[in-house]
Every structure is written in structure tokens, then in C-alpha cells.
């Protein structure tokens, strides 16, 4: 609306919106703040918001435990590995569905999406047993395979929507200009699709990083990513709030930052086009 909004109205709503936003964000804020407190401070009553002795000792201690870094590395390898593998499989598939659609293309796409709706418990046992018998249990490779498969539908879907936005005529022009299929994909399609591929990569790395079913059930000490590592803090002994906060902050920080940039991709990727 081009009408001027009264400043008073704007102020009221601004205050309200900020209150709601801060309330929702508060648990995260609290965690970050607690990570800078001493353990004693962390459980002090009454708790203080900003006025305490800030310290980095928790971060130092968590980092010193060499297994934190290992779990962090596991998260990185598993989430990037599965997403990149997914992209390699999905790009050709999305190309064919977007540019050479057949009668069944829509059905195939829908079917692919439907595989994402399979409840993981339905296949937990066989996967567990297969992994156990092939030595893939508690291995990064095994996890990469599983996460690739569960995210593949979303990767294909997102690439499909991005490819569809590329005018088919441009690829036809390339063909008329003498480009082979390989030339077409290399020189014309990929450069134009780079933003779309980047967005897909972003969202799926986030989804894989946060995945908390297979990463919890298929890993133990060796291949556990951060999701499982943090879960091991759930037993009641060792109520080290400050250290938990430090470990949590480090675990969530990269994804939080990436996530803030991927809001549009989130809508596109997870509502399957039903909302624009």
C-alpha cells in the first residue's frame, strides 16, 4: 500500500514483532550466552543475562577433546559428501525431466517425492542389518549412502524447478549452433543453472547436517557426526551446562549462518512448489 502508515502504528507493531522474534530466538541466545559462563555461573540462581564473568574456558576444553573435532569433521564429510553425490546423480535426472518431458515425467517426479515420505522406521531394521553385515555400520561411507538416498528426491525436485526456469529455446539455440549434448550441458546449461545448483547444495547440506534419525542409529564412536555427539550429553551425570552450551554453539553456528541465507530455498525445496 502506498499510503503512509502512522508512525505510532509502525512503532507498536515493531515492538510487538521484535518481542515475538526475541522470544522465539531466546533459547538460542541463552545457549550462546551460557557458553561463555563458568559452570558455576551456568547453574547460578538467580541466572544472569549479561552480567557475569565472560570466559572462553568452555570452548577451550571442548576443543581440546579431540573427539569434538572428529565429530565435526564427520558432520562436514557426511553432509557435503551426500549432497555432492546427490547432485551428481540428480543433475542428469533433472535435465531429462525438465527438457525432455515425456508422458510419465510428472508421475516419476511424484513417485520420487513419495519416497521421501517413507517413515524411516519402516526400513530401519533391514538397513541396520545390511550395514552390520557389510561393515558399513558406524562408517561415514554408510551414512553418506543413506543420506544421499533420503535427500535425493529433494535435490532432484529443486534442480527440476530451477531448470524449468531456463528457457528451453536457449538450449535449442545451442543445438542449432552445433553444440553436442555435452557441449550444451557444459557451456550453456550449467553456467545458467549455477545459482540454482548452489541453492540446492545449500539447503541439502543443512538438511543432512541436522538429520537425526539415521545418524543416531547407524553410528557409534567412529563415524558419529555432531548430532550423535551432542546426544551423548543427554545422560544425567555430567550436567555440564556451560560445556554443553559451548559444544552446542559450535555445532549449530555454521548451519545457523548458512540457514539465514537459504530461506527462499527452504520454501522452494520443502513445499514442493505448492507455495510460491
Amino acid at each position: 500500500m502506498a499510503r503512509a502508515v502512522s508512525t505510532r502504528r509502525k512503532t507498536v507493531f515493531t515492538i510487538l514483532a521484535w518481542l515475538v522474534g526475541l522470544a522465539i530466538f531466546f533459547p538460542i541466545l541463552w545457549t550462546i550466552l551460557t557458553s561463555f559462563k563458568t559452570e558455576a555461573e551456568a547453574v547460578a540462581s538467580p541466572p544472569s543475562l549479561f552480567r557475569f564473568d565472560w570466559t572462553l574456558e568452555n570452548y577451550a576444553e571442548v576443543n581440546q577433546r579431540s573427539d569434538y573435532f572428529r565429530h565435526f569433521l564427520n558432520s562436514v564429510i557426511i553432509s557435503f559428501g551426500s549432497t555432492i553425490l546427490g547432485l551428481l546423480i540428480a543433475i542428469p535426472a533433472a535435465w531429462s525431466m525438465a527438457f525432455v518431458p515425456g508422458k510419465r515425467t510428472k508421475d516419476v517426479l511424484m513417485w520420487m517425492l513419495s519416497t521421501k515420505m517413507l517413515p524411516p522406521v519402516g526400513v530401519l531394521i533391514p538397513i541396520y542389518l545390511i550395514f552390520r553385515d557389510t561393515g558399513l555400520l558406524d562408517s561415514r561411507t554408510g551414512l553418506v549412502i543413506v543420506l544421499t538416498l533420503i535427500n535425493l528426491p529433494i535435490i532432484v525436485w529443486m534442480l527440476y524447478t530451477y531448470f524449468k526456469e531456463i528457457p528451453g529455446e536457449i538450449l535449442e539455440a545451442a543445438r542449432m549452433d552445433g553444440a553436442s549434448l555435452r557441449d550444451e550441458i557444459l557451456y550453456v546449461l550449467t553456467p545458467m543453472a549455477v545459482p540454482g545448483i548452489a541453492s540446492t547444495l545449500l539447503l541439502n547440506v543443512i538438511l543432512a547436517w541436522n538429520e537425526a534419525f539415521w545418524t543416531l542409529n547407524l553410528t557409534a564412536a567412529k563415524a558419529a557426526p555432531l548430532t550423535a555427539f551432542i546426544a551423548s550429553y543427554s545422560s544425567p551425570e555430567g550436567l555440564f551446562y556451560a560445556k554443553l552450551s559451548a559444544a552446542s554453539t559450535m555445532a549449530i553456528a555454521p548451519i545457523l549462518i548458512l540457514g539465514w541465507f537459504s530461506q527462499k530455498q527452504l520454501v522452494r525445496g520443502l513445499t514442493f512448489g505448492a507455495v510460491k
Binding site: 522465539i24 546423480i89 515420505m117 524411516p120 526400513v123 546426544a231 543427554s234 527452504l266 514442493f272 507455495v275
Partner: protein, 290 residues
Amino acid sequence: MATEHSKTAARFMISPAVLLLLGWMIVPLAMTIYFSFLSYNLLSPGTEKFIGFLNYEFFLTDPAFIEAMINTFLLVGGVLLITVIGGIAVALLVDQPIWGQGIVRILIIAPFFIMPTVSALVWKNMFMNPVNGLFAHAAKLIGLPPFDFLSQAPLMSIILIVSWQWLPFSALILITALQSLDQEQLEAAEMDGAGAVSRFVYIVLPHLARAITVVILIQTIFLLSVFAEILVTTNGGPGNASTNITYLVYAQSLLQFDVGGGSAGGIVAVILANIVAIFLMRMIGKNLET
């Protein structure tokens, strides 16, 4: 666009994805179905035998199953209620002209990107803990005894935690849908004499209807499989008070090592999810026409 030449290439290029997903769907699922007809326990391997539908009978008549079903519906329903109503409210609020809209959006989106185990632990320890949690501190401040959330209201607590995580998703979807609402429609309604409430009920809400349906359906699919939050906070307890179907099957399969029973449970969960998925597919299918 489609010539013989490119059609063959297309078929070739789509096959890895299709074959992999086909394998992913069929092989493990077939195995689960197979196991569900056996009495098979990992603690006593080699003693498997075919017992027909007995596993299903045991699973479905187990009182734990009924409780898990109820908990599942309560969990999904509760979270949906909070996130849809909350999402609409937040979306309407953020859509108003305010200063710093970008930052408010960032604050609201954040919980969705926190891994479930971190969320659950933060809530469990730093908020809901009856001794050291912030809620306990707040209670003491007003003179009330602290409430042990996770023991006394385990399912409610989990609903709270999961809602916190999913509210951003719902809000984001609804904000996006709101922003696609043609301002001119609202202006026309105003000229026709509609007040703010009428405009909301007759124009905004119907426009959002599609987005709300999508939010409900997509969230339901994911909410049926809530797992990490339960594992890390209550382990399904006390008793089965916060066990949902997913956790029940997990417990039977990997804690009790009852492969047969767990498989039957897994199939039941699949059937449940399929019913929801059918509705979701119809909705998406309509959209793919555009």
C-alpha cells in the same frame, strides 16, 4: 524439443536416480515385510521361524501400541495446532510495516536450523530442568514450586520443543504466501466497505488456505517420525507416556532386538504414513499442472 535423439539421452540420464530410489524403496521394504512374518530376535540368531501374522497381532494388541498411537496423534495434532495458529499470527505480524523486518525474520527462522538433538538438550537442561532450568527460576521468582516438565508432562513438553522447532517453517511458508497476496485485492475490499476483520476472514484466510494445507500436510509427514527429541529427553517415558509409533518401533527393534515384532510395527507406521501421503500427493499433483 523432444527428438528421438534427445529422448534416448534423457532416458539414460534419468536412470541412475530412478534405479537407486527404486532399490531404496523396494529392497529394504521387502525385507521388512519378510521379517515381519518371522519370529526373529537378534539375541537368539538362527531360531527364526515363520509365524504368519502373529507379530502384527501382538503389536496391534499391545497396550503400548494403543498408547503410542494416541501419543502420535496428540503429538502431531498438538504441534500442528500451535504451529499453524502461531504461524499465521507471526506471519501477519511480520508482514506489517515495521522497522528491521529482515532481522525479525532471521530471529524467527533460527530454530528450524538447530539440530534436533541440540534443541532437545537445550530445552531439557536449561529450561525445563526442575532444579537449574530457567522455568524453575521463573517459578521461584513468583513463589511457585518448580514444575518438573519432563516427568510430569512428558508429551506436552515434547510437543512444546517440537513446536518451537517447526514454528519457523510454518511462519516462513505463510509469510511467503502472504507476500504473494495482491494488495489491490485488499484495497478493492476496503473500497467495498470491508473492515480489517472481514478482510482477514474473506480475503487473507482463503488466500492462505493453500499454504496452510501444504504446511499441515508436509509437517504431518515429518512429525510422524519425531525421534531424536524423544530419545534425548525422556526416552519415551515415564513408562510409555511420551512414546510415539516411531520410538516404539525403534525400542522394539534396537533395544529389545525383536526384529520380527519391530518389523511388523514398522509396516504399520508405513501404512499410516501412506494414508497421509496420498492426500499430500494429490495436492502437489494439482500444483505440478501449472
